[in-house]
């Protein structure tokens, strides 16, 4: 499979005193064609900022400080404004957590999708309308034709998210960025949307960058997973590998603290402490003060990647040392 998106050494910062505050720090990943990569982590780990950086949509006064983003052989950071606009939508589309805030409440949902199509292609309204209704059918909106003329508030949360997906797919993107696509939805609706995304991915062969805090959603949808903590990737592995044999103490803690796995009568394994905000990220390993395997070196040096396989690395001093001892 060929590489579709390659991000290397990405740092995104917000201005602060006495120095800029990084929210994404030296992040690298690649997505192959037809692959689903999940960035998973808790609030404030920088997963959404990573997605926005790829789209060059980092809200001001934030900015990309360092790193390269290469999409389909083109350097995204070097593109002009018209070029980046063309890239968004044409090659990369995005869906968000809250479909209500991403849809215009005073325009019918059909017109909004038509608008998206016409922005990128020279087609007349009739053809765009026809395609919109086909898309509505494809994403499982019942009564697709009459639904063309309804306003967002007339649709349930699940249907609004389907409209968003239809809009995102309308330009046949190569990469779909899905930022917490099911977080606002009920669990039975979430199952439907996950099934739809899986289906669409298989049919169109597009790649997906999935951003989520929910490990269940990761397992349902992704091929590979990067676990993020405080702006950095701490572990990267194939899905089966990460869920079956997590290595980093943070990944292990995240998986074990899931209440669905609790055993009767036993306390839930917790990760002590809290995620530090970006301006309080400690020196060295950022997880050190919550880690049960902490060493002296952890407070001084940011751990590098210990490669454990073609698609697996982990950033942890304790694990690096273990490997060195073998």
């Amino acid at each position: 499979m060929s590489e579709l998106l390659k991000v290397e050494g990405l740092s995104t910062v917000f201005p602060g005193t006495p120095r800029d505050v990084p929210v994404v720090d030296d992040l690298s990943f690649t997505i192959d064609e037809g692959e689903v990569l999940a960035l998973v982590g808790e609030s404030g780990c920088g997963k959404s900022m990573t997605a926005l950086s790829v789209m060059r949509l980092v809200p001001k006064p934030g900015r990309i400080d360092r790193g390269t983003i290469v999409m389909n052989g083109r350097d995204v950071r070097g593109l002009s404004i018209p070029e980046i606009r063309k890239l968004r939508g044409h090659e990369i589309s995005m869906i968000f957590q809250e479909p209500m805030t991403s849809l215009n409440p005073v325009v019918t949902v059909g017109k909004q999708v038509v608008e998206a199509i016409q922005l990128h292609e020279a087609v007349d309204f009739g053809a765009a309308r026809k395609r919109t209704i086909e898309l509505f059918e494809r994403v499982g909106i019942p009564d697709a034709a009459p639904r063309f003329d309804v306003y967002p508030h007339q649709l349930s949360g699940g249907l609004k998210q389907r409209v968003m997906i239809a809009m995102a797919l309308s330009t046949r993107p190569k990469l779909l960025i899905a930022d917490e696509p099911t977080t606002a939805l009920d669990v039975t609706i979430q199952a439907q949307i996950l099934e739809l995304l899986r289906d669409l991915q298989r049919d169109t062969g597009m790649s997906i960058l999935l951003i989520t805090h929910d490990l269940g959603v990761v397992n349902e949808l992704s091929d590979r997973v990067s676990v993020m903590y405080a702006g950095r990737v701490v572990e990267h592995a194939e899905r089966e590998e990460l869920f079956g044999r997590p290595v980093h103490p943070y990944s292990i803690g995240l998986l074990r603290s899931n209440p669905a796995l609790s055993r009767p009568g036993e306390p839930l394994p917790e990760i002590p402490g809290v995620v530090p905000p970006p301006d309080e990220w400690p020196e060295g390993c950022r997880f050190a003060n919550r880690c049960d395997r902490v060493l002296e070196v952890c407070g001084d040096e940011i751990p590098g990647a210990t490669v454990q396989g073609p698609h697996k690395f982990v950033c942890c001093h304790a694990i690096a040392r273990e490997g060195a001892d073998d």
Binding site: E42, S43, P142, S156, G157, G158, L159, D186, V187, T188, I189, Q190, A191, Q192, L194, E195, H213, D214, L215, G216, V217, N219, E220, R239, E240, E241, L242, F243, G244, G253, L254, L255, S257, N258, P259, A260, L261, S262, P264, P267, L268, P269, E270, I271, P272, V274, V275
Partner: protein
């Protein structure tokens, strides 16, 4: 039917036939043209020192049910028995001492803590309201003790809510609820806004507090993982009605109602060897203003048959033996007892 639900002595809180409808008003004269049947015949039992989880998806009425029990919403019908008294029959003045015994923990601690009050004032408000402790000094001591109990530094009582993280704020919310020494906490999505590593801390805290203080919880949530960890008993709600009740382990092992089965099947798996297949139910939840005829779940039910749209099923006991108190609102459960 009441007796069938209640094999093990008097519950701490007993809710019977609770009904909270919100009028839909329309036109110049604001005439009532219909009702949102948010809570429509809900019956529950909560035993002292135990946790009942009230589970359901958005709009199923679980929050309104909790608020109606506390009389923060006025129920049109039903009984809420606590300590031998029907709370719904009391005047506001008569109710006041009972409010001390039933306290509420909210989902979003930022929205439920007054940003202009110091933590000490927030927690001490409940003490003052119920005349617990006479002097300022006594209040301060009690607040310090409560903060310790929820594992916060008592010296932080002079800070404001914004100076705390989300998990710490939820601890403040719990300390405030504990201040008047309640017997029952109603926790409305109390851990839903928290990250999973913090959620585990708060869940463990709630469980420890239950053990130490003998508290009962009505735990309102959409998250079945949380239910599995914390609840002794579960009541599943759909469109204003309880569709299934049972002991937690029995309900997770052998759910009776097709909706409960769908809910459980829809939880994303974190087992790498297993992804869930096709979604268990299709379509959306119908509007509670105009619920379907017969069984309210029949429009989405995979096991629907002709009787379901015509007759209304009752919540009937099912599954004897270990599954004490199991009941399901489904014709299929009726026809296959045990």
């Amino acid at each position: 039917m009441t007796d069938a639900l209640e094999p093990r002595g008097e519950p701490l809180l007993r809710v019977r036939g609770l009904r909270t409808w919100f009028p839909i008003k329309h036109g110049l004269l604001r005439r009532t043209v219909g009702h949102v049947k948010a809570v429509d015949d809900v019956s529950l039992d909560i035993r002292a020192g135990e946790t009942l989880a009230l589970v359901g998806e958005s709009g199923c009425g679980k929050t309104t049910a909790g608020r109606s029990i506390l009389r923060l919403e006025s129920a049109q019908e039903g009984e809420v028995w606590f300590d031998g008294v029907d709370l719904l029959s009391l005047s506001n003045a008569e109710l006041h001492p009972y409010r001390r015994k039933l306290q509420l923990v909210f989902q979003d601690p930022m929205a439920s803590l007054d940003p202009r009050m110091r933590v000490r004032e927030i927690v001490a408000e409940g003490l003052r309201s119920f005349g617990i402790g006479k002097t300022q000094r006594e209040h301060t001591d009690r607040v310090a003790h409560l903060l310790e109990r929820v594992q916060l530094n008592p010296d932080h009582m002079w800070r404001y809510p914004h100076e705390f993280s989300g998990g710490q704020r939820q601890r403040i919310g719990i300390a405030r609820a504990l201040a008047p020494e309640p017997q029952l906490l109603i926790c409305d999505e109390a851990v839903s806004a928290l990250d999973v590593s913090i959620q585990a801390q708060i869940l463990n805290l709630l469980r420890d507090l239950q053990g130490e203080l003998g508290l009962a919880y009505l735990f309102i949530t959409h998250d079945l993982g949380v239910v599995k960890y914390l609840a002794h008993e579960v009541a599943v709600m759909y469109l204003g009605q309880v569709v299934e009740t049972g002991r937690t382990d029995a309900l997770f092992e052998a759910p009776r109602h097709p909706y409960t089965q769908a809910l459980l099947a829809a939880i994303p798996s974190i087992d790498p060897a297993r992804r869930s297949g096709a979604p268990p139910v299709l379509g959306d939840v119908p509007s509670p203003a105009n619920p379907p005829s017969g069984c309210r779940f029949h429009t989405r039910c995979p096991a629907v048959f002709d009787r379901c749209s015509k007759e209304v099923p009752e919540l009937v006991p099912c599954g004897g033996g270990e599954g004490q108190g199991s009941a399901s609102r489904c014709f299929l459960a009726e026809s296959s007892p045990g």
